[in-house]
């Protein structure tokens, strides 16, 4: 009936490594594009601040509390400073501290989580204890205390944010690390004779790429929010210009009470928009890595019987 014939074998498609594939898929996802676009907008604004407003933005340039007009697009503060300048310059500090603190917090979380997951035993017990302690301590009071006692400055803010921000990520990364640790390819690496560091970096970490990315985005959002919170309470470095300090001055000058919305809305909105953009990216990463979250092509009633589209049968009986 059949004669076996030998065919040429087609070259297998080249796939991408974990991270590369993830990034490629991000480029196709609507949420990711939107989120990244918004972020780029703000980063551009932050970078262009010295170009658009070369002078010190805290300089008094106009009448106090003037609403948006042709000369000052977002109006002026109670003291007569240009709100747009303050907002753009504020982006520099807020974004820098947010990203830096977020990155460092994620780094600490990865180290602690991975080490605990891989080595287990006593080391894991100690690291888990430390993680839980830092998780339990209420964040804001700890922030406040640390900020009050340490010398003011950007460095302090970043350190304080990292100390209060690493634990949540560590918990998640540890549990994900443990689930990967139990997989056969890790056991296979051990049996092949690989050393622990190599296994952690080459086997466990790359397969956690999406979770690490999500932890990073979460830490950045957290840091931006926490920094703004600190500064709003007046505990930040009052010499810097950031969205948080803008809001602080707006409150202390009574702008909220007086309904001078143009003074506090821009900075507040900026924080919200950046957080929103990061959250969009977060959802996009989640969607890509978890196929079940992808929106179904046709929104179908879950209990509907199978669609029949044969020529002589009724269409879509539901």
């Amino acid at each position: 009936m059949a004669y076996p014939q030998t065919e040429l074998v087609a070259t297998p498609q080249r796939g991408g490594r974990g991270l590369a594939r993830l990034l490629r898929n991000l480029g196709r996802n609507g949420k990711a594009i939107a989120g990244i676009a918004i972020l780029l907008l703000f980063i551009a604004g932050a970078l262009l601040a010295p170009v658009l407003f070369p002078d010190d933005p805290s300089r008094i340039v106009g009448g106090g509390a003037a609403p948006p007009n042709a000369e000052h697009l977002l109006g002026t503060t109670a003291r007569g400073q240009d709100v747009l300048a303050l907002t753009l310059w504020g982006a520099r500090s807020s974004l820098f501290v947010g990203f830096a603190a977020g990155l460092l917090a994620t780094l600490v979380a990865v180290l602690v989580g991975l080490a605990g997951a891989y080595f287990g035993g006593v080391l894991d017990d100690i690291l888990s204890l430390a993680t839980n302690v830092f998780l339990l301590i209420p964040g804001l009071p700890l922030l406040v205390i640390l900020a009050a006692f340490m010398p003011p400055g950007v460095g302090t803010v970043i350190i304080v944010l990292v100390i209060t921000g690493w634990a949540g990520g560590a918990r998640i990364l540890r549990s994900q690390g443990m689930s990967i640790r139990g997989k056969d390819y890790v056991a296979a690496s051990i049996v092949t004779g690989e050393r622990p560091l190599r296994i952690m970096l080459r086997d466990i970490l790359p397969n956690m790429a999406s979770i690490v990315m999500m932890t990073l985005l979460g830490c950045i959002i957290g840091s931006i929010g926490a920094q703004a919170g600190l500064e709003f309470l007046g505990l930040g470095d009052s010499n810097t210009i950031s969205w948080g300090t803008n809001l602080f001055w707006a409150t202390s000058d009574g702008s909220l009470m007086l309904g001078q919305w143009w003074i506090f809305v821009p900075s507040g909105l900026a924080i919200a928009l950046v957080a929103f953009a990061l959250a969009l990216c977060n959802y996009a990463v989640d969607e890509i890595t978890n196929p079940r979250l992808r929106k179904p092509r046709r929104a179908a009633n879950a209990a509907a019987p199978t669609r029949v589209t044969a020529d002589d049968a009724e269409e879509g009986v539901a």
Binding site: P12, A187, I190, T192, G193, E194, P206, N207
Partner: protein, 311 residues
């Protein structure tokens, strides 16, 4: 058999392993291995047969030194490794003893290309030649796959192909003992025989000692020279494959043999007989037992109660 004259590749005596389950208050103990004695000769395939949860995977993992037994001795290639390599297996051990895992979809790192995986094994044990590319091609072809798969990622290949690559990774280090933990149970049916034939070839051509862990008695009979049967952590019967399965003596083995689907079988299933087996198995498990040799020629022995009237 001449393999018994040479030192066995693996000689296990009195291996015990207990796992503790549950949380704070309800800590339960599970006896995974119970005084296990086992020999695996060079150039021999021994099938370790038992149902899921019987402890057979645990034994393989102990030999692979992924788990540590609680007590007992393990002589691998003449060395009492539990004593000489107490805390961690040496590099040399990792080169001599290798393992093939059950899940072809989980035993390869999804983010690494095949050539990287294989080259890594070669480099780790100093087996890489200057012409490593040619060496990789040789390796991949020795397991029946074309050179093109070297550039692929695991998700681009089928289960059968991945399992062959797992075997290639094992072969790269030129081991003397291979532990195969249910290597075909997650593969499509039509490619299983190919993988089993490959293992047989490794025994014939390279004299590798292979422990084939499985729940499938028929494939054990097909592949293995000797079969040992495990029930709840205890080895209950062992011997040359055909001789053992033709005349099993332990009720557990008898029950297993009777349960394998057999299109030629004429007698229908008898639930009373099944109940009798279970009662006898439970009774034998309670009684203090010993290994009794049934037949020297085929090495057929059975683990039975000490004063049992007759088998």
């Amino acid at each position: 058999m001449s393999t018994q004259e040479k030192t066995p590749a693996v000689r296990i005596r009195g291996l015990d392993k207990t796992f503790a389950h549950g949380g704070f208050r309800a800590r339960r103990k599970v006896r995974a291995l119970n005084a296990v004695d086992l020999d695996i000769g060079r150039g021999e395939i021994v099938a370790l047969v038992g149902e899921s949860g019987s402890g057979k995977s645990t034994l393989a993992r102990c030999i692979a030194r992924l788990e540590s037994p609680d007590s007992g001795s393990m002589e691998v290639l003449g060395e009492d490794v539990l004593r000489t390599q107490r805390r961690r297996a040496t590099k040399a051990y990792r080169s001599d003893v290798q393992m093939v895992f059950q899940d072809p979809f989980g035993s390869l790192n999804p983010t690494q290309r095949i050539e990287h995986v294989l080259a890594r094994s070669l480099h780790l044990h100093g087996k890489a030649r200057p012409d490593i590319r040619a060496q990789l091609v040789e390796l991949i072809e020795s397991v029946g796959l074309p050179a093109e798969v070297l550039a692929s990622f695991p998700h681009e290949l089928s289960g059968g192909q991945r399992q062959r690559i797992a075997i290639a990774r094992v072969l790269a280090v030129e081991p003397q003992v291979i532990l195969a933990d249910e290597p075909t149970s997650m593969l499509d049916v039509s490619v299983r025989i190919g993988v089993l034939n490959l293992l047989a070839r490794l025994r014939d051509e390279r004299g590798i000692a292979i422990l084939y862990v499985t729940h499938d008695l028929a494939s054990a009979r097909y592949l293995a020279d000797r079969i040992v049967v495990m029930n709840q952590g205890t080895l209950v019967e062992g011997g040359e494959s055909l001789a053992l399965l033709d005349a099993p003596r332990h009720p557990y083995t008898q029950m297993l043999v009777g349960a394998v689907p057999d299109p030629e079988r004429t007698t229908p299933f008898d639930p009373d007989e099944r109940r009798r087996y279970r009662t006898q198995i439970a009774a034998w498990a309670e009684a203090p037992s010993e290994r009794v040799t049934i037949d020297d020629a085929s090495g057929h022995w059975v683990w039975k109660p000490k004063e049992a009237a007759h088998v």
